[in-house]
């Protein structure tokens, strides 16, 4: 596949993630976009195009939420495009931004992800109810916890995974999140396994401390072409691969123990990046972790572990931030340890890989040396995988 431009990442910015932000969605978008421009030492006039990602309009409670967010995202008077694939949107926004620059049509693109879930009352779960089939599922009062618990049970039963292993994933991510400046108040922390396993059962087997919270927040990244980078004499991180894949919305007609759409998205990205042995060539990974089991589920879909092997590797510390022989997974703290403003959380995952590769992750910096990393998100009706691979080699 030929592209006009290689695409570099020049900067990233995040707001703090919060349960209830005072800021309007536009204001959240501005704070993140401004931070990303500052990180890249660029101004809005340097941006040729803007991409916005935000999940269902119903969260913010604003129809045409992309258009609403546009001026806060720096898009006034610029080519602007919103993309949306549910929870996969954050990482998909980077893919969309990559498209803008790779096409040769634009030298630069600002990607802004925003979510304000706190606007929806009595609970944003009400928004999720309306993503299901309106005849077969919605009349039953279905919400996201149903579908996750059904999937988790299928996964844990298929591979005979003890609850303690999932608790260890939550413990790791909540500890990692303690070092993230954007971490939502009360979400990260040094929890014991007992505390996690004794937490409230929300929809068995899903428990409170193994679920990401409801969050408000925004994240942004600055992308640029090779020509733009060369003119400025920069040595940036590059987008080496992108992949995405959508499975059927008849989620009942798939075996939920394995996310085949994540595998397809990953294989697409690996092929583009020239990665043939992901377990050797991916050095740090940010799998989507809205629930503890999802991290393991996705690591398997990403081909970083065999089916059923990811839980065993938890016991070996293979995914820990300070591993020297494994692949650190979710060094940021992820959705469980930092928070889950949906589209912003996906941007946060790509931003973490960017900062890790630049060696700017501070206390979160992984121990092993890293030249290539992968960020992944997931969403829609358990049906979409979105993958971005970043690399440091020029």
């Amino acid at each position: 596949m030929a592209y006009r431009n290689r695409v570099a990442v020049l900067g990233a910015g995040l707001t703090r993630f919060m349960r209830r932000a005072l800021e309007t969605p536009k204001e959240l978008a501005f704070e993140a976009a401004r931070a990303a421009l500052d990180d890249a030492s660029l101004e809005i006039d340097d941006m040729d195009a803007v991409v916005s990602v935000t999940a269902p309009d119903a969260f913010d409670g604003v129809h045409m939420n992309g258009e609403y967010l546009a001026d806060g995202s720096g898009a006034r008077g610029k080519p602007f495009m919103r993309s949306y694939v549910g929870g996969g949107s954050g990482v998909f926004g980077i893919i969309n931004g990559w498209y803008h620059v790779a096409s040769g049509h634009f030298d630069t693109c600002l990607v802004v992800g925003e979510e304000k879930m706190s606007s929806a009352l009595p609970h944003p779960q009400g928004c999720f109810n309306a993503i299901y089939d309106q005849f077969l599922e919605r009349p039953l009062g279905v919400n996201l916890l149903w579908i996750f618990s059904l999937e988790m049970n299928r996964y844990m039963t298929t591979h005979n995974v003890p609850m303690e292993t999932f608790a260890k994933v939550a413990q790791k991510n909540k500890r990692n999140g303690m070092d993230h400046p954007s971490s939502q108040s009360g979400i990260s922390g040094d929890y014991t396994l007992d505390q996690i396993m004794d937490s409230e059962v929300m929809a068995w087997p899903v428990q409170r401390l193994m679920v990401s919270p409801v969050s408000d927040g925004a994240g942004a990244m600055v992308l640029a072409s090779e020509e733009f980078v060369k003119k400025r004499g920069l040595d940036p991180v590059w987008i080496e691969g992108v992949g995405w894949n959508l499975d059927t919305s008849y989620w009942t007609n798939r075996d939920l123990y394995y996310p085949r759409y994540v595998e397809k998205a990953a294989r697409m990205a690996y092929e583009m990046a020239g990665v043939t042995e992901p377990r050797k060539e991916i050095h740090v990974v940010e799998p989507y972790d809205p629930f503890a089991y999802k991290e393991l589920h996705h690591l398997e879909g990403l081909q970083l572990a065999d089916k059923g092997e990811a839980p065993r590797l938890v016991e070996e510390g293979f995914w820990d931030r300070d591993t020297e022989t494994g692949i650190p997974a979710t060094p940021s703290g992820g959705l469980i340890g930092v928070g889950n403003p949906i589209s912003a959380a996906g941007v946060m995952k790509v931003a973490e890989i960017f900062w890790q590769l630049e060696g700017r992750a501070g206390k979160r910096q992984v121990k092993r040396s890293v030249q290539r990393g992968l960020a992944q998100a997931w969403g829609d009706l358990m049906q979409v995988g979105t993958v971005v691979i970043l690399g440091k080699q020029s």
């Binding site: 005072l22 409670g61 001026d71 606007s119």
Partner: protein, 162 residues
């Protein structure tokens, strides 16, 4: 293609809604703007720290320069009608007993404007360029309805023309 029959009860259907309602925070800029409406009966504009433009509604950023704003100050003098309409039906398409006049109102030296109702006059005589000022509510709660409507600044000889 199959049209519904004229008897809807014969159509198998499920009625539902998205089971949420919303609470919108007015935000960092909004907190200040609406507090000033309520407490001081003034309309605040903000100033860009880059280009120096003053604009409504006030924001924490200038959408042109994409930098923070500074200095908030009340708009001065009467506003003027930039454009208007007379609305004859409400949101549910019911006929209104009296047409409602809605206008975009601007101020000299201020970028942007606000939309509001026009009252206190025979609105059939309303023209673009009409100078107007707010009719404040006695009891204000910190919302756009703290202004009941904009009323003409009584200089009939200024009517007409922008």
């Amino acid at each position: 293609m199959t049209e519904e029959t004229p008897s809807p009860e014969r159509i198998s259907q499920w009625r539902g809604n998205i089971p949420i309602h919303h609470r919108y925070t007015v935000g960092v800029a909004g907190q200040r703007f609406f507090a000033a409406l309520r407490d001081e009966k003034v309309i605040l504009a903000s100033t860009c720290s880059g280009c120096g433009a003053r604009f409504l509604l006030p924001k924490i950023y200038c959408e042109r320069c994409f930098v923070d704003t500074k200095e908030w100050s009340p708009v001065k003098g009467p506003g003027y009608v930039k454009t208007f309409t007379l609305v004859h039906r409400n949101l549910d398409e019911e006929v209104l007993t009296e047409p409602v006049a809605a206008a975009v109102i601007g101020w000299e030296g201020v970028r942007g404007g606000i939309v509001h109702r026009i009252g206190g006059m025979d609105t059939s005589q309303l023209r673009i360029g009409q100078k107007v000022e707010p009719q404040w509510r006695e009891v204000r709660t910190g919302g756009i309805a703290d202004i009941l409507y904009f009323k003409p600044v009584d200089r009939p000889f200024h009517r007409g023309g922008a």
